[in-house]
């Protein structure tokens, strides 16, 4: 509860970053999710160390179950419908899924942030135009547009990333617009302005650092969103092209056998879920850690 007790700020410790790190160290959710994310990233980086070639098929060893369901140690997580080693595909899949998410989010972050900051900073006509663009974007049923574009250009990894990037920027724009507006109205911006700062300086030195926390938090939300979305596109057969092993594609390939060899969908499904869960928890943690900064 925020009883407005403006306690006299005591010089206590160093930079805002140092205080953030201190808060981070005592935030369990943040620590756990960071650990998971680091693990996934490591797996993605170390994918070349996978036990098998993820593309090497063996039609005589199809759908071998994983070790714990009676398979062999040769294929720890079994093989898929074309006899490819599941563990290896899963490891490469981490790479694909993460890069899809990251690239898509990078693109949308650039678009959304630019629009949001412009609208929030300049207001007036610029704001109206940006709001209109945001409205148009929101009114367009995104997933349908995505389907249309992917079915047009084919679902190469690039297309999927770009299309998602071009359609997921709305949240960045909306949130950063209001965050920028808020920061814009702060007196330190006026102060910098009367000190002769140029617009670019204001944007880069004063606005951006103060909205960076929003940016990062949304980026995590959208990252999770993009990864899930890729899975949905793959489900409809319009995601990444085979044989590229994205987790979404693996789930969608496994879905055929859901009723019989359910591990084909369960393993990548759980992997995906843990990743998305971790990203979301990470985002929540980040929000908790950075939020109080807004006050002073």
């Amino acid at each position: 509860m925020a009883e407005n007790t403006a306690s006299p700020a005591k010089p206590r410790d160093q930079s805002p970053r140092a205080r953030m790190l201190r808060r981070a160290r005592s935030h369990t959710g943040f620590l756990i999710s960071s650990a998971i994310l680091i693990l996934v990233v490591l797996i993605a980086i170390l994918a070349p160390l996978a036990p098998h070639d993820p593309y090497k098929q063996d039609l005589l060893a199809r759908t071998v179950p994983p070790v714990f369901l009676g398979g062999s140690w040769e294929h720890i997580l079994g093989t898929d419908a074309l006899g490819r080693d599941f563990l290896s595909r899963l490891m490469y899949g981490a790479r694909i899924s993460l890069s899809i998410g990251l690239v898509a989010v990078a693109i949308s972050a650039v678009i959304g942030t630019t629009l949001g900051i412009l609208a929030g900073f300049f207001g007036g006509r610029v704001d109206r135009v940006v709001l209109f663009i945001i409205n148009v974007r929101l009114a367009l049923p995104g997933i349908l547009i995505m389907l249309a574009v992917v079915s047009l250009f084919g679902g190469s990894l690039m297309t999927v990333m770009i299309v998602m990037g071009l359609l997921l920027w709305d949240r960045f724009a909306v949130v950063l617009r209001s965050a920028t507006r808020q920061v814009r109205s702060m007196e330190y911006i006026a102060a910098a302005e009367v000190q002769g700062a140029s617009t670019l300086q204001l944007l880069v030195k004063d606005i951006l650092p103060n909205i960076a926390n929003h940016l990062i938090v949304i980026a995590t939300v959208e990252l999770a969103h993009a990864i899930i979305l890729e899975a949905a596109l793959s489900f409809l057969g319009l995601g990444v092209q085979p044989p590229t092993p994205s987790w979404g594609l693996m789930i969608s390939e496994g879905k055929e056998m859901l009723l019989f060899d359910s591990w084909l969908i369960t393993i990548p499904g759980i992997a995906l879920m843990i990743l998305v869960l971790a990203i979301n928890m990470f985002g929540d943690g980040l929000r908790d850690i950075t939020e109080p900064e807004g006050r002073n």
């Binding site: 593309y55 759908t63 419908a81 679902g155 092209q241 085979p242 055929e256 056998m257 009723l259």
Partner: protein, 481 residues
């Protein structure tokens, strides 16, 4: 289910239009057999043409066919069948203003002429040997008065035919219901309907279909992927039947260099691709026992489908050699398009990779891909073709090797043979021309002919049904055990 004499059938795709001249989908063909009748009927077992709405026919000359019609047949709405219906149906559908979709059904006819109430003459613009295939296939006869009254759109919502089943309800995209037509004419080569109600629902997801079947919500599913079908076979209460169909798979390669930089202009490369793919292994593993590897660019039972052609066995070493000879010792990267059977495409791409051909798979919607192919932008594609269940090379090879937009080889010699084969009437002559064409196609390795597709049917144990090889589900052949 058996208790209320209603069989529920699940289809993956919907019946887009119950007015059969406006659909090219398999579902239309299927319904056509049960709700309508054609002038003739082809016995699925023997391949003979039996009298149906027409009782007798004779060729007056190469281009004129005279038919005697059956008397005493009535449409579902009570309208009597006579020559007016036949003439009206054919001439109406030939009118370009109608904008029908499945032009092939009538386009071989110039016009129909009424001689008397039960005699009509069909005038063909040119000799057309495969005419009976169509007349016995989907060139169904509509009631003229009713059709004139409701028009094309009205008819698709409430179609009326003479078939053993009549439509009672159509929910576009979702389901349709057929009811036994008790006034079906006695002497029909098709049998009368046995089950009272046939309810066909569209469920796009195979898992959901299986779930419905296992939970008793349906009696019949088909086109089930082989893996699932095999697993379902062990379940009690369900029967799994696998039956061949006329659909073949093939890889087409841009031998005519329409894309501008095609490596496939070199026959060595095309042969290498042929050698690289282990069709047997894929067919066996992924399509099941009923799948047959083919070597000729047509379905084996089709009239004129020459079997004695050059074959290319699985030999990766040879493939590599050929590639090296063609100057691609370091390998080759191509775009590989496909519109269905992702797994099969993947398996083939995997094999191509083994010999040094990196095939980047591009899965696309059928329409988008056919657009791309016919505008000459595709180097290599994995396609399938069902010949519209027409048992004649005219419906398969003839489509792909006559210099049309679909022709990826543009071999004038082949085109001439195929055209002759499709237009002369004499069967021996036709076979000879097709044979020459198919031999050259195989020699030149324009295609990689792959395999035939079996269809897996999974039906509840209560249901008695024997599928036919033409991929047409005849509702009137179904009965309860």
């Amino acid at each position: 289910d058996k208790a209320n004499d209603t069989a529920t059938l699940l289809f993956t795709k919907e019946l887009d239009n119950a007015n059969l001249y406006y659909t090219t989908a398999r579902e239309g063909t299927v319904v056509g057999y049960s709700a309508f009748d054609t002038l003739m009927y082809r016995d699925p077992a023997t391949g003979d043409y039996l009298p149906c709405l027409a009782t007798e026919w004779e060729w007056v000359d190469d281009k004129t066919l005279k038919l005697k019609l059956r008397e005493g047949v009535t449409f579902h709405n009570g309208e009597a069948f006579n020559a007016d219906d036949v003439v009206y149906t054919i001439n109406t559908m030939l009118d370009p203003a109608q904008g029908i979709k499945n032009k092939g059904l009538v386009s071989f006819i110039d016009h129909a002429e009424k001689i008397d109430d039960f005699t009509v003459v069909l005038h063909l613009p040119a000799p057309y040997p495969a005419a009976f295939e169509y007349l016995a296939g989907n060139t169904v006869i509509y009631p003229n008065e009713y059709y004139a009254e409701v028009g094309a759109q009205g008819f698709s919502m409430k179609p009326v035919g003479t078939g053993p089943y009549m439509f009672t309800e159509i929910v576009p995209g979702q389901s349709f219901t057929l009811e036994r037509f008790d006034g079906y004419f006695k002497d029909s080569p098709k049998s009368a309907a046995k089950i009272k109600t046939i309810h066909v629902r569209t469920i796009p997801d195979v898992n959901t279909q299986i779930a419905e079947l296992m939970s008793g919500g349906a009696d019949f599913i088909w086109q089930v992927p082989t893996d699932q079908a095999e697993k379902l076979a062990s379940r009690s209460g369900l029967n799994v039947i696998s039956e061949t169909t006329m659909r073949i798979g093939y890889i087409t390669m841009d031998a005519a260099n329409r894309t501008g930089n095609s490596p496939f202009t070199d026959p060595l490369v095309r042969k290498a691709v042929n050698h690289a793919i282990n069709r047997d292994a894929i067919a066996k593993a992924l399509l099941g026992e009923k799948a047959q590897v083919i070597n000729s660019a047509c379905f084996p039972t089709q009239l004129g489908c020459e079997q004695d052609v050059t074959t290319y066995d699985y030999d990766p070493a040879k493939a590599k050699e050929l590639l090296a000879e063609a100057g691609h010792a370091d390998g080759l990267t191509v775009e590989f398009y496909a519109y269905r059977d992702r797994q099969l495409a993947e398996a083939m791409a995997g094999m191509l990779a083994e010999v040094g051909i990196t095939a980047n798979i591009n899965m696309m919607q059928y329409s988008a891909l056919s657009d791309k192919i016919s505008s000459g932008e595709v180097g290599m594609a994995f396609m399938t073709w069902g010949s519209g269940s027409i048992n004649d090379v005219a419906a398969s090879t003839a489509r792909f090797f006559t210099n049309s937009a679909w022709d990826q080889s543009h071999d004038q010699e082949v085109a001439d043979w195929v055209n002759t084969g499709s237009t002369v009437v004499d069967v021996a002559e036709r076979k000879e021309n097709y044979s020459k064409a198919l031999k050259k196609i195989a020699d030149e390795a324009y295609w990689v002919p792959l395999w035939t597709y079996p269809t897996n049917y999974v039906i509840s144990a209560d249901l008695d049904f024997v599928p036919t090889a033409d991929e047409v589900v005849r509702f009137f052949d179904m009965s309860w055990k």
